[in-house]
């Protein structure tokens, strides 16, 4: 069953001009994104830094207003058919910046209990829930419940944020780099917890991360973003096992070697770093792609099926696209 449907989501940020009228331009942060998330699944989101992942997450929660696009939760359009307050009770987010969602003047326990209290849970019960969640993210409540955010280490604060997001018993949790500040042992513990809670409460996750091993481990399906657009999407096993988009390939090959005698010597991608300010037409990866041809610079490139549920925005996978490596026209 589809729980969340996102269609044609777009958000551009205009840049200010300086006093001489230079600069300006528009950041195409999220530029027409369509996907859906089924009840109970984990959708992994990966992509270059600055490609619009956090902006997309904020749009889903309507923390910022989209320029265009529709978000449906349980089949109802958020903002019109479903009031924002209702949608925000059902969707929770763990922010990339661990200070962002914690009130510096509240103790950790009060921060976690705050949401449930606002939503009508009696204080004592909310506290109880806060403590039990703290214990489950590996923070002994007796030691940590009374601490303030600045009295915690980075990874401890990040776990408080996870507990805070889970306290409201949401349907969907958007995790934006939620385990990136954790050491590997605690990370394993938190990932195991997320999987347990998913079963226990039938949760659905949107899991944004730069750690490809973790995304592969957690996700049922994956979307790969590049400069505000989806470059590749599909079941985790086929995106990782049968990678089609040249950007995804470059991304996956950039994983560290894990061998002190064979350190990386060459950057995996050459060419200009991707620029979301007034991007040129055509494929946004063109300037760095080893397979780019003239045709790649004309017109929009749509996500096209490349096998069971696997979709790719690259002319090389599209029959009859005019790219010299494209498969022959499908019968």
């Amino acid at each position: 069953m589809t729980l969340l449907t996102v269609s044609g989501l777009r958000k551009h940020f205009p840049l200010k001009k300086d006093l001489l009228g230079r600069g300006g331009g528009t950041v195409h942060a999220v530029d027409g994104i369509t996907f859906d998330v089924a009840q109970g699944e984990t959708l992994g989101v990966v992509g270059e830094s600055g490609c619009g992942k956090s902006t997309m997450a904020r749009l889903l929660l309507r923390l910022i207003e989209p320029d265009e696009g529709l978000i449906r939760l349980e089949g109802r359009a958020v903002g019109t058919q479903m009031p924002l307050t209702e949608a925000r009770g059902k969707m929770q987010m763990v922010f990339q910046d661990s200070f962002a969602s914690l009130n510096p003047r509240l103790t950790v326990e009060d921060s976690i209990a705050f949401g449930p209290i606002v939503h009508g849970l009696p204080r004592a019960q909310a506290r109880e829930r806060a403590r039990s969640l703290l214990a489950r993210v590996g923070l002994e409540p007796l030691r940590f419940a009374g601490r303030y955010p600045h009295e915690l280490s980075g990874g401890q604060r990040q776990r408080v944020n996870i507990a805070r997001a889970l306290a409201l018993r949401p349907k969907i949790v958007i995790l934006d780099e939620a385990v990136s500040a954790l050491d590997k042992s605690i990370e394993a513990q938190v990932l195991n917890l997320l999987l347990d809670l998913k079963v226990e409460f039938g949760l659905t996750y949107v899991f944004i991360s730069h750690d490809l091993n973790v995304v592969r481990y957690m996700s049922d399906r994956v979307i790969v973003m590049y400069l505000g657009k989806i470059a590749e999407a599909g079941p985790a096993e086929s995106v990782f096992g049968d990678t089609r988009h040249p950007y995804t390939r470059a991304l996956f090959s950039a994983m560290p070697s894990m061998d002190p005698d064979r350190r990386t010597q060459q950057p995996p991608l050459i060419g200009d770093p991707p620029n979301p300010i007034d991007p040129p037409p055509g494929c946004r990866f063109k300037g760095r792609c080893a397979h780019a041809e003239d045709i790649c610079g004309r017109g929009d490139i749509t996500l096209t099926s490349a096998g069971a549920e696997h979709r790719v925005a690259c002319l090389m996978t599209q029959p009859g696209s005019g790219h010299s490596s494209a498969p022959g026209k499908a019968a």
Binding site: E48, S49, G50, E177, A181, D183, K184, S185, D259, N275
Partner: protein, 329 residues
């Protein structure tokens, strides 16, 4: 073998302890950390969340809250007694001799000034150059850390950047004044693999270019392997193992290091549980007398609980604090 005088260390930390006092309790965040760092050397620091990595770096930069923390031991950097610095000397040390990349990028930028203003201001202050040269240096640094359209991003406010761009801007800020020592606290966690590798290559390049020493805290063993010469592993405010990258990664000797290295997610099947070290770290307000890892260690024995195990050298400067090594020796 040719005898060679060891390099005069750039950094020498000995018996560093940091305590935080809260109502009715004292948190022993750092408990006797000692290490040396040669000019141009990169020390990678791994360790449990909450084990004192950031607090150690903050102590070295002298930015812990003065009224609620107490720091003892000695920290010498480039010949200076860091804990004794004050006034203008301290100002010059921070940002001039040593600079830090914080775990939380938002903390090192002021939200009301643009990224360019902030980098240029720091350059102007520490490198004693004029406004124009400072801005040019800021631009050069943003370019080097791979921020797209660096020129236009100079005028961006911190909140207008993505997490990874802020992190890169902070790296630019930290490197702009060519510090002798860089304290890097998880500097690449917000970066995707392609940008991360480019930043690591840049750090290696700068380190060769002007002999910068680096202390690099990371949770990512792969990253540590890419940049570090030596590794230190922290647990409950102590360095429990240290040695060359090769030695520590290939033959970890402390049970905590062994557990940490085997918890890394590497292509596990979905649905299969990942192995984590069972149990939780000790209460830093009530530190046990012996090895702090004992309650979680499958090799623990009576002797482990008696006193904090001393460092045992297992060869070539590879040391670990575990009684098993003493028994084996």
């Amino acid at each position: 073998m040719e005898p060679r005088a060891p390099d005069e260390p750039l950094v020498s930390v000995s018996d560093l302890t940091v305590r935080f006092s809260r109502t009715g309790q004292t948190i022993q965040a750092v408990n006797g950390v000692s290490f040396d760092l040669a000019p141009g050397e990169v020390l990678g620091v791994l360790g449990e969340s909450g084990s004192g990595k950031s607090v150690t770096l903050r102590a070295m930069l002298r930015i812990l809250p003065a009224h609620r923390s107490s720091v003892t031991g000695t920290i010498r950097v480039a010949g200076r007694d860091v804990l004794a610095l004050s006034g203008a000397e301290l100002e010059d040390y921070r940002g001039g001799t040593v600079s830090m990349i914080f775990q939380e990028p938002m903390l090192s930028f002021d939200p009301v000034f643009t990224i360019g203003q902030q980098i240029a201001e720091s350059v102007r202050r520490h490198m004693k150059v004029d406004q124009q040269a400072a801005r040019a240096r800021a631009l050069e640094m943003l370019d080097r850390v791979q921020i797209p359209s660096a020129k236009r991003r100079l005028d961006a406010y911190p909140h207008e950047m993505s997490g990874g761009m802020r992190q890169r801007a902070m790296i630019a800020l930290a490197l702009a004044c060519k510090p002798k020592l860089l304290l890097a606290d998880e500097p690449t966690t917000a970066l995707d693999a392609t940008v991360q590798i480019q930043i690591l290559l840049l750090l290696r390049e700068l380190q060769r270019e002007f002999g910068m020493s680096v202390i690099f805290v990371t949770h990512d063993v792969g990253v540590a392997i890419e940049v570090a010469d030596r590794i230190a592993v922290m647990y409950a405010g102590r360095i429990v193992e240290t040695g060359s990258v090769r030695e520590v990664i290939r033959t970890p000797r402390h049970p905590y290091t062994q557990g940490l290295l085997s918890s890394t997610v590497r292509g596990e099947l979905r649905g299969q549980r990942i192995e984590a070290i069972p149990g939780s770290p000790p209460d830093l307000a009530a530190m046990p007398p012996g090895c702090a890892f004992a309650p979680r260690c499958k090799h623990a024995r009576d002797e482990c609980l008696r006193a904090v195990p001393g460092a045992v050298d297992v060869g070539g400067g590879h040391e670990a604090r575990c009684v098993l090594l003493k028994l084996a020796a």
